[in-house]
Point group: C2
């Protein structure tokens, strides 16, 4: 694809437009729609009098060719509308991105099969971090791409949960791909680039400004099947993502918490206002996403038990986890005849597939439900 990024092509022109226009710019969208990306760019570069001055000023002294060459050297690619792996959900936006810079091996076509946005506050609690991690891991285990914003707190935990089960996670950045933000998450962002994908509609070099964060949220909201807010204060930006998701017909879930926790106040308000459905676990998020997502696919009709597909060690551990009470890891390890570390690893996997649940510091088998969860 990078081969196509040569001057004169429509893709090259769209790459240039990611530098020339701000995200969600109606004027640029209109120009490109009426002409083409290449023709519209030519008019801007020639400074034609009918081109709005704001656009003409934005190309002054800018070496678009150098920008594109820099991106290409980094191994970044530019997706444009119509590409096989273009996330078509974005086309519902009033002004879809002119292109998406992508860094990382993940095939964004997977997003089409089912993607969940897991978002929340930087100011979160240990409870919220645990929930975001579990949802990231659980949704990923069920085949969903987990999309978030690479921020501190909930975003980070959701990405990490997904990475912990070797799932596909996508971080949508507010600035250019060479401007990972926040710097404290540079390690996480680099890790996502290695196995998942970083995505931005802003050209390399672009700073992650406040307005670009808000515009970024519309991408998270529409490239996914639905959005789950794990923890959000009353003014959290993640509520903005949730609102945009709802406005574009996507289901929105919110995880409740103790009412004494400010970090849950935005979730509770969204539930009260009917903007979000209360969700408590992966199964309920799957129900929420199922309207459009993977769960709508036909399922095997025979009785299957999740443990049928488990590795032998996990099955042995599961066999000694009590059903009506809870046991500590130490007791479970002793009964199963494995080390505590092995028991911990098995329990973590069993939790992801929904076979066991944590009760304080102990573990219990998850009550069987009828149906597919």
């Amino acid at each position: 694809m990078s081969a196509e990024l040569s001057p004169g092509t429509e893709r090259w022109a769209r790459a240039a437009w990611t530098r020339v226009a701000e995200p969600d710019d109606p004027t640029a969208h209109d120009l490109i729609g009426r002409l083409s990306a290449g023709e519209a760019l030519g008019a801007v570069l020639r400074g034609e009098s009918w081109v709005p001055e704001a656009l003409r000023l934005r190309v002054r002294g800018v070496d678009l060719d150098a920008m594109v060459r820099f991106a290409t050297r980094q191994g970044w690619r530019l997706l444009i509308p119509g590409d096989p792996d273009w996330p078509t959900g974005l086309d519902q936006l009033a002004h879809p991105p002119v292109g998406l810079w992508v860094h990382g091996p993940a095939d964004l076509a997977e997003v089409e099969a089912g993607a969940a946005a897991v978002v929340g506050s930087r100011a979160c609690t240990a409870y919220g971090l645990g929930m975001a991690h579990d949802l990231g891991a659980g949704l990923s285990s069920r085949g969903y791409v987990v999309v978030s914003g690479a921020a501190f707190g909930i975003d980070r935990a959701a990405h990490e949960g997904c990475l912990s089960v070797h799932g596909t996670t996508v971080a949508v950045l507010a600035g250019g791909l060479d401007r990972p933000y926040p710097a404290g998450n540079a390690d996480l962002i680099a890790g996502i680039a290695r196995v998942g994908a970083l995505v931005s509609e802003v050209a390399p070099g672009g700073a992650p400004t406040k307005s670009r964060f808000l515009k970024r949220n519309r991408l998270i909201a529409t490239m996914t099947t639905g959005t789950v807010v794990v923890e959000a204060g009353l003014r959290s930006g993640s509520l903005n993502t949730a609102t945009q998701a709802a406005e574009h017909g996507r289901p929105v879930g919110a995880v409740p918490g103790q009412v004494t926790s400010r970090a849950s106040a935005g979730c509770h308000q969204a539930i009260r206002d009917g903007k979000a459905v209360l969700v408590t676990d992966v199964a309920e998020v799957l129900d929420l996403l199922g309207r459009m997502g993977l769960d709508a696919a036909p399922r095997p009709s025979g009785p299957t038990r999740p443990e049928d597909e488990l590795p032998p060690q996990d099955r042995e551990v599961l066999a000694v986890v009590p059903v009506r009470a809870a046991s500590t890891v130490n007791a479970i390890a002793a009964h199963a005849g494995v080390t505590v570390a092995q028991a911990q690893a098995s329990l973590a996997r069993l939790e992801v597939v929904g076979a066991v649940v944590r009760v304080g510091d102990s573990w219990q088998q998850r009550p069987r439900r009828t149906g597919h969860h």
Copy 2:
């Protein structure tokens, strides 16, 4: 009123019926409706052939007169439909109680002005206890009678919260007034009888059986303006109360908690199912109840501040509670020039009127809102 409890009166006959018929018995309800309590009782006592055998068997060897004299000696009174202080909400039931035994000074007419059921599980958490106490105190401070079931856990905390602000609280018992249950709450139940009211539709001597608990719940649900479930497991009896309240057109609220807490699972399910509205504080419960309750009454239009009516010590404490941060009790006591115990008492009162909020172990002034909350 006890003077009226003499044989031959309709009230005496209804007192007898509380022993003869089980709560919610359609046959007894039908008989009393077609004849009168006195005539129907006479037919049962005479063993007339058209009286269902089940009823005839229930009066064999029973000294109804001794039961009524015993109740009268205890100072208990029997309310019957049509009495000025009969809770008319009960008349919406398919089979309202034939009478309500009452023990305690509270005027049940207050229930008509506004009553809130605050219910929940015996198996609860410290978080739930705190919430139930705060809601009991807060609703009481706003003029609501707090009705619950005197069970361990949430019920107890709700009653105690109400008692802590010298409010009116009513415990609806599943057995006779001489059969306080659970025994471990005998102190609480005796305390409610001293300042509030114990209520039962079961005659003295009647055991609190499982079916009577379920029947009792319909009284809690319909003698109140609305029901709030604070914590409830998936099979908690308090969900039964909530369902009955909803079926009789009463608003139902549920307090969320951490999804990892089984004690909140029933609340979350009720919210997900649309049976309950998520509520996080007294103001939101008042909004919920307001459709029918006190909040519909006109309010003073001038600007009033809650602290205008506070005792001087509370005003001094409030003055040193920070607005944008939180202080410990010790720091607040030191700044206000009062003892730690005085500061604690003031803070508890200030919390009830909504002037301060707890933040972990510290305190902060509650952000001012516009409007009346």
